[in-house]
C-alpha cells in the first residue's frame, strides 16, 4: 500500500496536520503567528547547512528552527519591538539560507522543493520521520496540556498554581521546531505558518473550549491536506500551495458561516 506515492503523500500530509493543528492553536492563542513564520523561514538555513554537512535535513531544519526560536525569545524585551525583531531575524535567516544553498555547488538542489514542499516525493523513511515527529509533538502537548493552557491564559495564574510559564514556553518552542522540521517536506518553509494558523483560525468560531478548537483544527487541516492533494492531481497544480488554498477556502467558509450565524 505504501508503494503508491499518493497514499504516502496523504499519510505524510495527515501526519503533519495532526501535529500542526493543535500547535497552531497555541500559536494563535499566544499571538505567535510571526514567531511561527520566523522559525519556519530560519529552517531553510538549517536545510542548507544539513546538505553541506550531509546530515539529515530534518535534523538541520529542526536545530535551526529551535535556535531561531530561542534567539527571538532571548532578544525580545531588549529595546526592540518583537515584530521588528522577527522581521529582522526571519528574513535574514531566509536570505542567508538561500545564499548558503547557492554555495552548495556539488549537489544540484531543487530549491523549490524546500521552499514549497514536495509531498509527492515523500519516501517511506520520510514518512517514518514525519509520523515520529508528529507523535512526539502530540505527546508533548498532551502531557503538558493543562500547564500550557494555564500559562497561555495568564502567566500569573500559572505561577500561583506552581507552573513556571517560561518552562511551558520552552516546551512550545521545542514542539514548534519539530512541527516546522516535519512540515518542510509537505508544504515547504514559506507555507508552514499557513498550515499552523489557518486551520486554528477556521476552527475558532465553532469551538467553545480550547480542546474543541484543537480537535476542529485537526479536522480542518486533514480535510485541507486531502482536498489539496486531490485538487493538485485534478488540475496539475503544485501540491503544497494547493493544500494551503483549500485551507484558506475552508477559513473563508467558516468566517462567512459565523457572520451569518451572528446576523
Amino acid at each position: 500500500m505504501l508503494d503508491d506515492f499518493m497514499i504516502r503523500a496523504a499519510l505524510a500530509g495527515l501526519g503533519v496536520a495532526l501535529a500542526a493543528a493543535p500547535m497552531g492553536c497555541f500559536v494563535v492563542w499566544r499571538r505567535m503567528a510571526y514567531f511561527g513564520d520566523a522559525t519556519a523561514h530560519a529552517s531553510i538555513l538549517g536545510v542548507a547547512i544539513a546538505l553541506a554537512l550531509s546530515v539529515s535535513v530534518f535534523l538541520g531544519a529542526m536545530v535551526m528552527a529551535l535556535l531561531m526560536a530561542l534567539a527571538v525569545t532571548a532578544l525580545s524585551g531588549r529595546g526592540y519591538a518583537v515584530d521588528t525583531l522577527l522581521g529582522v531575524l526571519a528574513h535574514s535567516a531566509l536570505a542567508f539560507g538561500l545564499v548558503a544553498v547557492s554555495f552548495l555547488s556539488g549537489v544540484r538542489i531543487d530549491l523549490m522543493a524546500y521552499l514549497f514542499g514536495d509531498i509527492l516525493a515523500v519516501g517511506k523513511m520520510d514518512l517514518a520521520v514525519i509520523w515520529g515527529g508528529a507523535a512526539l509533538v502530540l505527546a508533548l502537548l498532551t502531557w503538558r496540556w493543562a500547564a500550557l493552557l494555564t500559562a497561555t491564559l495568564n502567566p500569573d495564574l500559572a505561577h500561583a498554581s506552581g507552573i513556571d510559564p517560561r518552562r511551558e514556553q520552552l516546551v512550545l518552542t521545542l514542539a514548534l521546531a519539530v512541527v516546522v522540521a516535519v512540515a518542510i517536506k509537505v508544504v515547504g518553509v514559506l507555507l508552514i505558518a499557513a498550515l499552523l494558523i489557518i486551520p486554528a483560525a477556521a476552527a475558532r468560531p465553532f469551538a467553545r473550549t480550547p480542546e474543541g478548537m484543537a480537535v476542529i483544527a485537526v479536522i480542518v487541516a486533514a480535510l485541507s491536506v486531502l482536498g489539496g492533494l486531490q485538487a493538485s492531481l485534478l488540475y496539475d497544480t503544485p501540491t503544497g500551495p494547493s493544500i494551503v488554498c483549500v485551507a484558506a477556502l475552508i477559513f473563508a467558509g467558516s468566517a462567512f458561516g459565523s457572520s451569518l450565524r451572528r446576523a
Binding site: 499571538r31 493543562a146 495564574l157 500559572a158 498554581s161
Partner: protein, 265 residues
C-alpha cells in the same frame, strides 16, 4: 510556623526600586489587608509572593506544599481562546462537575457554567475568578483588588463570602484593597505599604499610626469614622518616625496632613 514569610524583600523594575526591605509574614487563618497609595508596590508584593516577579534582594519562603489561590487585579482573556466558565474552573487541575457547580453556586453565579469567559460582565468575572481560586482549597488566598467592577452590594457580599470562606476552609487571606472602610473592619491585621512597610498591626493601631495618616489623611472619606471614632481627633502626634519615601514633610501637623491629602487625591 507561618504560611509564607518575606524577609528583607526588594524588587526593582528597571532602575526603579518598587519594594524596599519588606518583611511580612502571614499565619494560618489570618485576614490581612495591604493598604497603600497607587504605585506603592501592593500588586508587586502579591506577585512576588507567587514567584511571578524576580526578587532583587531578600527572600520569600513558603510552607511546604502551600496551596495558593490567586485572584489577579485584572485578567484579559484573548478573544481567540474559547473558554467556557466550567472549563476555566478546571484549570490547571480537573475538578468534578459537582464541585464546579457548587463553587459557582457559592459565588452567587450558579447559571454561568456554559457561558464564555469573554461574555461575562466585570462583576460576574470577578466572582468566577474567586470561585476558581477557592476550588483548589487554598491555604492562602491572595486577592488583588478583587472587588473591582463590583457594585456596592456586590462588594459587600464579596467580603461576606471572604469571611465565610475563612470560617469554612480555615485559609489565610491576604488582600489588597482601596476600599478602606470595608477592609479595615474586616481584617485582623493591616499592613500599610509605600515601597516599604510603613506600619502594621490591628486596624485600630494602624488607623491611628502617624505613618498611615501621613498617607491617607486623618478623615479619609469617613473611613475611620466608620471604624473607630476616638482616634479621629488625636492630632498631636508629631512626625518623628523615619520615612525613607519622599512625601513632603511639614514640621507642623496640619500642613503635613494637608500635603498628604493632596498627594492621595
Amino acid at each position: 510556623m507561618s504560611l509564607i514569610e518575606v524577609r528583607d524583600l526588594s524588587v526593582r523594575y528597571g532602575g526603579h526600586r518598587v519594594l524596599n526591605h519588606v518583611d511580612i509574614s502571614i499565619d494560618r487563618g489570618e485576614i490581612v489587608t495591604i493598604v497603600g497609595p497607587n504605585g506603592s508596590g501592593k500588586s508587586t508584593l502579591l506577585r512576588a509572593l507567587i514567584g511571578a516577579v524576580p526578587v532583587a534582594g531578600g527572600r520569600v519562603s513558603r510552607a511546604t506544599d502551600l496551596r495558593i489561590g490567586y485572584v489577579p487585579q485584572k485578567l484579559a482573556i484573548d478573544p481567540t481562546l474559547p473558554m467556557t466558565v466550567a472549563r476555566f474552573m478546571s484549570l490547571p487541575r480537573r475538578q468534578s462537575a459537582t464541585d464546579v457547580a457548587a463553587a459557582l453556586e457559592q459565588a452567587g453565579v450558579p447559571d454561568l457554567s456554559d457561558r464564555q469567559m469573554t461574555d461575562l460582565s466585570g462583576g460576574q468575572f470577578q466572582r468566577v475568578l474567586l470561585a476558581r481560586a477557592l476550588l483548589s482549597k487554598p491555604d492562602l488566598l491572595l486577592l488583588d483588588e478583587a472587588t473591582q467592577g463590583l457594585d456596592q452590594p456586590g462588594s459587600a457580599a464579596f467580603y461576606r463570602q471572604i469571611e465565610d470562606v475563612r470560617a469554612r476552609l480555615g485559609c489565610a487571606i491576604l488582600m489588597v484593597s482601596h476600599e478602606l472602610h470595608v477592609v479595615m473592619s474586616a481584617s485582623d491585621r493591616v499592613i500599610c505599604l509605600n515601597g516599604h512597610v510603613c506600619c502594621q498591626g490591628t486596624p485600630e493601631i494602624v488607623a491611628s499610626a502617624p505613618e498611615y495618616r501621613a498617607l491617607f489623611g486623618s478623615g479619609t472619606q469617613g473611613a475611620l469614622a466608620l471604624y473607630r471614632h476616638d482616634h479621629n481627633h488625636s492630632h498631636d502626634d508629631g512626625c518623628d518616625h523615619d520615612h525613607a519615601h519622599d512625601h513632603s514633610h511639614g514640621g507642623a501637623v496640619t500642613p503635613l496632613h494637608q500635603a498628604a491629602r493632596d498627594k492621595v487625591h
